[in-house]
Each structure stands twice: as structure tokens, then as C-alpha cells.
């Protein structure tokens, strides 16, 4: 069979296999499903941020036209809490009690015959509250803090002493705003009970987890729950958990004995499905005059809700980003009366990297060393936490090729030295990485009598191209043309998959697909082991490879036969095999598992009179290991870049400091990058297949975003001489 080494680094950029459905409007998203007899749900949310409900007034709503029921904590079904996951405990169950912990908390659920009736009736639900003073300020000393909530704090050497004696030091504070994931597809849930079995269409990036949560909530076996999500209208992390509204919709369907459909409104998307938490970071750097880092002390405090978890170790990347003997990283979370934060594209690393890469840029000016050169001097080929070599880290190539494509050498190092008419021109750069992440994953591969293959796993394609790249990979493994292979996903009845998150799915699922396909080929070879009519008789499964729909002796295409012939002769309609992957153990393979790396180069234009910042050009040089499909991988990088532009220049979820209400919870008020904000983006993939896993891929969903914000603020400094340490950049700071 083919091996990693024999494959090209960059796979063919074929167009998405789901493209025809997406451009014709035929791809069904969760909100597009309906069933006969369904009723429509609408959420009612709290208008205070802390306290308790004294009384709910639901009579008027209950008697409003078309209303089926109004659920509150007084009449809701008691449900169990779902399982903990790698992202922490399950979100709290809905409508448990009278306690209010954030503005926009679900306090009632109205079910009616039509969406208009449900919406109209929801406006009639009122609550009497006993309000308490909400804790809303991240630095409020009264807030309870969680220390090292993820056990990722790191310490080596003696950072304090090294800072004390360093030739040059920098002490800076960085602020990053709350951002809201805001996938374009409104999250929707349609719950249908049939006796004690439950079928749910749900906007999720992880159907297996939603299934487990619903099973635990209603005390039924997982096999009685089916979660379907063939298409997801984006997620960026928001679909990684079984949110209270999902449980609530299923609860309403159970109680009313009707299918119930809920579609969140855009304002509800700000309070119901997580957001990137705001944070403050304190970074101290000790460095020699020749640019060698001697100490890094990185601490963070980020916002957390009262009753939930969020994985957000801001400073963790600083522990292994560069060679440095003395490092300390410390993360804390402050419990506030805010809606739950959650992973948003490049969680933690987007913020932590902003601080670190801003500081290095600042030091490059202090020391008079080119920013790229400064990073080169602190490069490490081994993981400084464990001394193991990285499974793949081509960041040096990223610097070199990125700088060349960008024309970095044309940069005049002097701030405010480059102009184009009235525009101040600035060049900035930053390193980027997103750490390795994977979970166990399974896939099943089948070859049918007609020579077609069907491969499936309960994964999702959130726009990353999973349908396409997994079909490509399966076709390659089985030696079939792509048209003969169908990859299916988005159904929890399929073999369990990991989440579409943390840039982990392509690697983990790819390795499971690889395993399933190899096992399948092996079962074909086993089938003909003693078959005198087969040219493959007696051949070891290790000595075959596949091409043109045939299994044949390695290097000898004539000695073999087709899947079709084998199945026909043996009267077998199809053969299937299940494969799996588990994250490798670094110690066992002697390699520290590397995520993706990158170098980002940005040109900005700043209008000195208006403080306006325009991104003029971006070059992203990316080490994503082996790239399965250049077209979809490039799209991941440009998508991340657009997210990074938003983070740097536009995105800021504003909470009213008195009431805790989100003040800009619409697309008219919460600004995201639009077409006119985004220039031509140059993406280049470099490096080699990763050595840590069979398929050699690394995920590229997050690395596109990382480093864009600091590259922009570093370019703004170069253009204007003004150092920005708070995101997003606002016009006033540049005037």
C-alpha cells in the first residue's frame, strides 16, 4: 500500500464535493428541517444579570393565540446534567431553579403553533425579580478566581531571578475584548420523540457529545438518541457543547408530545452559545542585547461565567513558543455574571500570542534587531517542556518564504518612515502556532459490489471541507477514483468521531479513515487468501497496494484483481471494516506532537487624520503538515485571517457595566469584517508531512487566525509609532 513518503505534500485542490448542494440552496442546515405537526419554541431570557426570580407571569402568554405551553422553572421537567468533556463540565441544565446568574439567561420557553405566535406570546411573559448587584468587571476584587483551572501552568528555571539580572526587560499589559463567535447560521434544534426514542436535528460540531448529553438529561440509553447535522452554518467553537436551549427544546417536545423546533434569534446567539472571553495579560520579558530570550513571565486573567467552564489557558503557548531557559506561565479565571464564554476559533492562543508577539516586536525596536531575525535567534527545534524534538515544525521556512513573498526586505525599519500619499504605511509580522490536539476517532469503510465505496463517521463539516478531504483520502487509500467514493457524516448513529474543533478533526479522522481503509483492503486479501482463482492467493496483506479499483501486488499492477471481481466471485454484496485512531503518546514515539505553525506578514495603511486603519496585504506562510486539499486548506487560512482582521480592528462585544446586558447584540452593532475590509490574501503552504501520525496532516482551522492581530498592531506601530496593547484598535487611540 502507499506510504506517507510517496505522497505529495500538497493534495489536489479539487472543488468541494458538497459544492453543488451549497450553491443551489439544496444543502439542508438544521434550521431547514421541519416535520409534520411540529410546534415552534421561543426563548424568554432574563433582563437582570444577578438575583432570583420571585414570580413568573405566564397567564397572558399561555392564553395568547396558538400557544401550546409556557415552560418556566416552576413547571419544567427535571433533567439530568450531561457528561463532562475535554471542554469541562456540561453546561448547566435549563430552568432548574429561580437563580439568575447572567443577563439573557433562559427563564421561559414558549411553544406555539406558528413562529409568529410563539414570538408574540414570548413578549407577554413577565418576571418579577429580586435583583442582586452583578459582578461584571473582570478586575473586580470581589470576583472569585479559579487558579490554573486546566492544570497547564508551567514553570522552568527561575524566571524571577533571570528577569532581575536581564540586560533588557519589558513589562507590559495587554487587553483583549470579548468577541462573539456569531456563525452566520442561526443555531437551531428540532426535537422529535417517538416513545422513548429521540431524534434531534441540531447545530452541532460534535453530534456524539450532544447525543450523550441528551441521553443523560432524559435518563435514556444513548442508543435511543439520534443527532443529525449534515450541514452546519458555521460554528467557530459555538457548536462544541450541548447548550441549555438544546435540552430545553427536547424537554418541550417531551412535555407537549409534539415535535418542537427552535431557531435562536441573532441577539440570542450572543448569550446562548458562548463567546471568546475578554482578558488581561501581564507579560514580563528578559532578553540579552543580542536578542536571546532569558526570561518570560506570562500571566493572564480571563472572564468566566458563574456556573460553567471554559477552556482558555491564554498563556500556555508561551511555555513552548520559543527557546528560553526561564519561563513561568499562570492563568486565572474570574467568575462573573456573564453569559458563558466558550472556545472561539483559536481559543487562548489568539489572545496569548497577541501578547507575546507584541512584546517581541516592541523589543525588536529597543534592541535594533529586525523582528524576523529576533524570532530566528530564539527558535527551538525541540519542545522546551520535555526536550523532545517536534514531530514537525517548519517555522523557519515560514519566515523565509513568507518574508520573501511579502517583500519584507523593502521595509525601512524606522517607524513612520513609509508613506503613500497621505497614508502612513506600516509593515508588521508575527509568528503563529496552534498546539496539537486530537481525540479518539472512528470511521467505517465499505466497498460495494459495483466498485463504489462508502465511508462514514459521526463527524461534522463546519465549512472546513471534511466531506471533501475525507473522500479524497478514502479514494487514495482504496485506489478508487473520487467519483466512486462517498463520504458521509453528521449522524450520531455512525461510528463515533471527535469534535470538529481544536484543529484536530482532519488529523484524527483522517487517521481513522486511513485505518478503516487499510483494514478493509486486508479483509479483501483475507477473503482470497485460499482462492485459487485469485491472482492474489497467498499474498500477505502487507505486500499489496491499490489503484484503479484493484488490489495488486506492490509494484506489480498486473498481479491483482478488482474489488468488483472479488465480491462477485465470492457472492458477497459488500465488505466493510471499521478503523480507529487514538492520539499517539509523545514519549512512545519520541516526538513532541506539533500543531500547525505559521508566519504572518501584514501591510497596513493608516490615515493619520482619521485614525483609520486599512489592512492592505497579508502573506501567510503556513506549515500545516501534509495538506490534503490545497483549495479547502487555503480557504481555512483566509477564513482565519478574516477572523483575525475582525479581532484586531472590529470585534468587541460590549456589556453594559450596570445591567450586564449585551449592548451590541446584533449584526448591525457588533462589527465583523465585511468584503470591503479584506484585501487580497496570499497563502503559501510549506514544510513536510508531520512525523507524528500516519497521514502526516496537521489541522489548519485555527492557525490562520493566530498572529494576525499582533501582525496588524505591529504594522500599525511601524506606520505610526503608536504601540497598541488593547484590542480591538479604536480610532481614538491613533489620533
Amino acid at each position: 500500500m502507499s506510504t506517507v513518503e510517496s505522497r505529495p505534500l500538497i493534495g489536489e485542490g479539487i472543488s468541494r464535493v458538497d459544492g453543488p448542494r451549497k450553491v443551489t440552496g439544496a444543502a439542508p442546515y438544521p434550521m431547514d428541517f421541519s416535520v409534520p405537526g411540529q410546534a415552534y419554541g421561543t426563548l424568554v431570557q432574563s433582563t437582570i444579570a444577578a438575583g432570583r426570580i420571585v414570580r413568573m407571569h405566564t397567564d397572558e402568554a399561555a392564553h395568547s393565540p396558538g400557544v401550546v405551553t409556557v415552560l418556566t422553572h416552576e413547571n419544567a421537567l427535571e433533567v439530568g446534567t450531561g457528561p463532562a468533556s475535554v471542554l469541562g463540565a456540561s453546561p448547566p441544565a435549563p430552568l432548574r431553579n429561580d437563580r439568575i446568574v447572567h443577563h439573557g439567561q433562559h427563564i421561559a420557553f414558549v411553544v406555539a403553533e406558528t413562529p409568529e405566535q410563539a414570538t408574540a406570546a414570548a413578549r407577554l411573559v413577565r418576571a418579577d425579580y429580586e435583583a442582586a448587584e452583578p459582578l461584571l468587571d473582570l478586575q473586580d476584587p470581589r470576583a472569585e478566581h479559579l487558579h490554573d483551572p486546566w492544570g497547564m501552568d508551567h514553570s522552568r528555571g527561575d524566571a524571577a531571578a533571570a528577569l532581575e539580572s536581564a540586560e533588557v526587560t519589558l513589562h507590559s499589559t495587554y487587553l483583549t475584548a470579548d468577541n462573539t463567535n456569531n456563525p452566520l447560521g442561526l443555531f437551531a434544534t428540532l426535537a422529535v420523540w417517538d416513545g422513548d426514542t429521540l431524534t434531534v436535528h441540531d447545530t452541532s460540531q460534535w453530534p456524539s457529545m450532544v447525543r450523550a448529553s441528551l441521553a443523560m438529561a432524559f435518563g435514556i440509553p444513548e442508543s435511543s438518541v439520534r443527532v443529525l447535522v449534515p450541514y452546519v452554518g458555521g460554528g467557530f467553537g459555538a457548536g462544541l457543547r450541548a447548550w441549555p436551549h438544546v435540552i430545553l427544546t427536547a424537554m418541550a417536545a417531551r412535555m407537549t408530545k409534539r415535535p418542537v423546533k427552535l431557531v435562536l434569534t441573532r441577539p440570542q446567539m450572543f448569550t446562548s452559545i458562548g463567546h471568546r472571553p475578554s482578558g488581561v495579560q501581564w507579560l514580563s520579558v528578559g532578553i540579552r542585547r543580542d536578542g536571546e530570550l532569558v526570561a518570560l513571565d506570562h500571566r493572564s486573567l480571563s472572564s468566566l461565567s458563574m456556573e460553567d467552564n471554559d477552556f482558555e489557558p491564554f498563556s500556555s503557548g508561551t511555555a513552548f513558543a520559543y527557546q528560553c531557559p526561564n519561563v513561568i506561565t499562570r492563568d486565572e479565571q474570574a467568575k462573573l455574571n456573564i453569559a458563558v464564554p466558550t472556545s472561539m476559533r483559536a481559543p487562548a492562543e489568539a489572545q496569548g500570542n497577541f501578547a507575546l508577539e507584541s512584546a517581541l516586536d516592541e523589543l525588536s525596536y529597543t534592541l535594533g534587531i529586525d523582528p524576523v531575525e529576533l524570532r530566528l535567534r530564539n527558535h527551538t527545534d525541540v519542545d522546551p517542556r520535555n526536550g523532545l524534538p517536534w514531530s514537525g515544525k517548519a517555522i523557519l521556512e515560514c519566515y523565509e518564504i513568507g518574508a520573501r513573498r511579502f517583500g519584507w526586505s523593502d521595509r525601512n525599519p524606522e517607524p513612520r518612515s513609509m508613506r503613500d500619499g497621505n497614508w502612513l504605511v506600516g509593515y508588521g509580522m508575527a509568528s503563529a502556532m496552534f498546539p496539537y490536539f486530537a481525540q479518539p476517532c472512528m470511521a467505517e469503510a465499505t466497498v460495494n459490489r459495483d466498485g463504489s465505496a462508502f465511508v462514514r463517521s459521526a463527524a461534522t463539516d463546519i465549512g472546513t471541507g471534511t466531506y471533501t478531504v475525507m473522500a479524497q483520502l478514502s479514494a487514495e487509500e482504496l485506489g478508487l477514483p473520487l467519483e466512486k467514493v462517498r463520504f458521509d457524516l453528521g449522524d450520531s448513529d455512525m461510528p463515533d468521531s471527535m469534535m470538529a474543533g481544536g484543529s484536530g478533526l482532519t488529523g484524527a479522522l483522517g487517521n481513522a479513515v486511513h485505518d478503516a481503509c487499510r483494514r478493509l483492503v486486508r479483509s479483501f486479501v483475507d477473503l482470497v487468501r485460499d482462492d485459487a482463482d485469485s491472482p492474489l492467493m497467498g499474498i500477505s496483506p502487507h505486500d499489496v497496494e491499490c489503484s484503479d479499483g484493484r488490489i495488486h501486488l506492490m509494484g506489480c499492477p498486473d498481479r491483482g484483481e478488482s474489488y468488483v471481481d472479488i465480491l462477485a466471485r465470492h457472492g458477497t454484496p459488500q465488505l466493510s471494516a471499521t478503523g480507529s485512531s487514538t492520539p499517539p503518546d509523545a514519549k512512545e514515539i519520541g516526538l513532541s506532537l506539533a500543531g500547525a505553525y505559521g508566519a504572518k506578514f501584514v501591510e497596513v495603511r493608516v490615515d493619520p487624520d482619521l485614525g483609520l486603519v486599512r489592512v492592505a496585504r497579508v502573506v501567510s506562510a503556513i506549515d500545516g503538515g501534509r495538506i490534503l486539499n490545497e483549495k479547502t486548506a487555503r480557504s481555512q487560512i483566509i477564513g482565519g485571517t478574516v477572523g483575525g482582521i475582525g479581532m484586531a480592528l472590529l470585534e468587541d462585544t460590549v456589556t453594559d457595566p450596570r445591567t450586564g446586558r449585551i449592548a451590541n447584540g446584533t449584526f448591525a452593532d457588533y462589527l465583523v469584517a465585511v468584503n470591503a475590509d479584506v484585501p487580497e490574501l496570499d497563502v503559501v503552504f510549506v514544510g513536510e508531512p508531520d512525523r507524528g501520525t500516519p497521514t502526516g496532516t496537521k489541522g489548519v482551522g485555527e492557525v490562520g487566525l493566530v498572529g494576525i492581530a499582533p501582525a496588524i498592531t505591529n504594522a500599525v506601530y511601524h506606520a505610526t509609532g503608536k504601540r497598541i496593547r488593547s484590542l480591538p484598535i479604536t480610532l481614538d487611540t491613533l489620533l
Partner: protein, 176 residues
């Protein structure tokens, strides 16, 4: 011509403020009894089952619900169904012709002008109208006049490339 969906809808829902609305969608005529509050978007999606048109905000701020009314792009979430009476409505489902996908649909596939695909029907309806408006003369112009359509996946450069390819393509593709 009346549609099966309309038969069901005319009698099944009883609410306070209703009226009978006749809609001409993709060349077919549908008669519906509708709550007067129903938007064109909800009528298309919930009553006619034409779910290709998407709802991203219901507030006129994202462009996902873009359809054509008499050949011009409108936000169907800001248009009441009743307002669309007597006008020619085209949705993404009506864009594909007898000879296959519209050139803009093909260009979006070729240039990977989408990721999750949720904004795509709206982007494509906007792009087709943009060319009819004569606003696809340069990348700058395309970016500006496509800025009412949010793509949270960030496919913008590829969307521009797709539109540019069709606008400058000549021959078959230039025929809109």
C-alpha cells in the same frame, strides 16, 4: 397554477390578522393564507418549503436572505410577504436553469467562494444582481457592493475572485 403546499396552508392556520396572498416564485404561483406579520423570508421557508434562502439575522444586517424582486436584490427578512404580491420573486432555487447551474454558481464552486455555505445563496443572489447593476467593474467595486453580505467564514477573497471571473469571462459566462 396552484401548488399543493398552498392547499395545506390556506386552511390549516387560524390566527387573528390573516390575508390571502398570491406569490409568484421562480415562475410558479402560490396562494397562501398568511398571518400579516409573515415576512417574505418566512413565507418562502416555512410555508413554501423553499429553504435555500437563509435567515442569518432577521434584522436586515447580514444579506443571507437576499432574493430578487423583479430582478433587483432585496432582503426578504425586511419584506413582508404581502408586499411581494404581484412581483416576480426569484430565489436561489430558481437560479439554476435548464442547462445547469448559473455561471455565478459554477464560479463559486470553482473558486471555493464559500466554506460552511450558509451565506452562499445570499451571496450568489447578490452577485448576480450586482452584475446586472453594472457594479462588477473592478475588485474594489465588487468588494464595496458585496459588503451587505456577511460571510462569517471569511470567504471574501474567493467570492471576489468568483465574481471577477464571471464578470470578465466573456463568451458564455458573460451572458447573464
Amino acid at each position: 397554477m396552484r401548488d399543493v403546499a398552498s392547499e395545506r396552508d390556506v386552511d390549516s392556520r387560524s390566527t387573528v390578522n390573516e390575508r390571502v396572498v398570491t406569490l409568484d416564485v421562480n415562475g410558479r404561483t402560490y396562494t397562501l393564507r398568511l398571518d400579516t406579520r409573515v415576512t417574505l423570508l418566512d413565507a418562502l421557508r416555512d410555508r413554501l418549503g423553499l429553504v435555500g434562502t437563509k435567515k442569518g439575522c432577521d434584522q436586515g444586517a447580514c444579506g443571507a436572505c437576499t432574493v430578487h424582486l423583479d430582478g433587483r436584490r432585496v432582503l426578504s427578512c425586511l419584506t413582508l410577504a404581502a408586499q411581494a404580491e404581484g412581483r416576480e420573486i426569484t430565489t436561489i432555487e430558481g437560479l439554476t436553469g435548464a442547462d445547469g447551474p448559473h455561471p455565478v454558481q459554477r464560479a463559486f464552486m470553482e473558486h471555493d467562494g464559500f466554506q460552511c455555505g450558509f451565506c452562499t445563496p445570499g451571496q450568489i443572489m447578490s452577485a448576480v444582481a450586482l452584475m446586472a447593476e453594472g457594479r462588477a467593474g473592478s475588485d474594489e467595486e465588487i468588494r464595496e457592493y458585496m459588503s451587505g453580505n456577511i460571510c462569517r467564514c471569511g470567504a471574501y477573497p474567493n467570492i471576489v475572485a468568483a465574481i471577477r471571473a464571471v464578470a470578465s469571462g466573456g463568451g458564455h459566462d458573460a451572458h447573464l
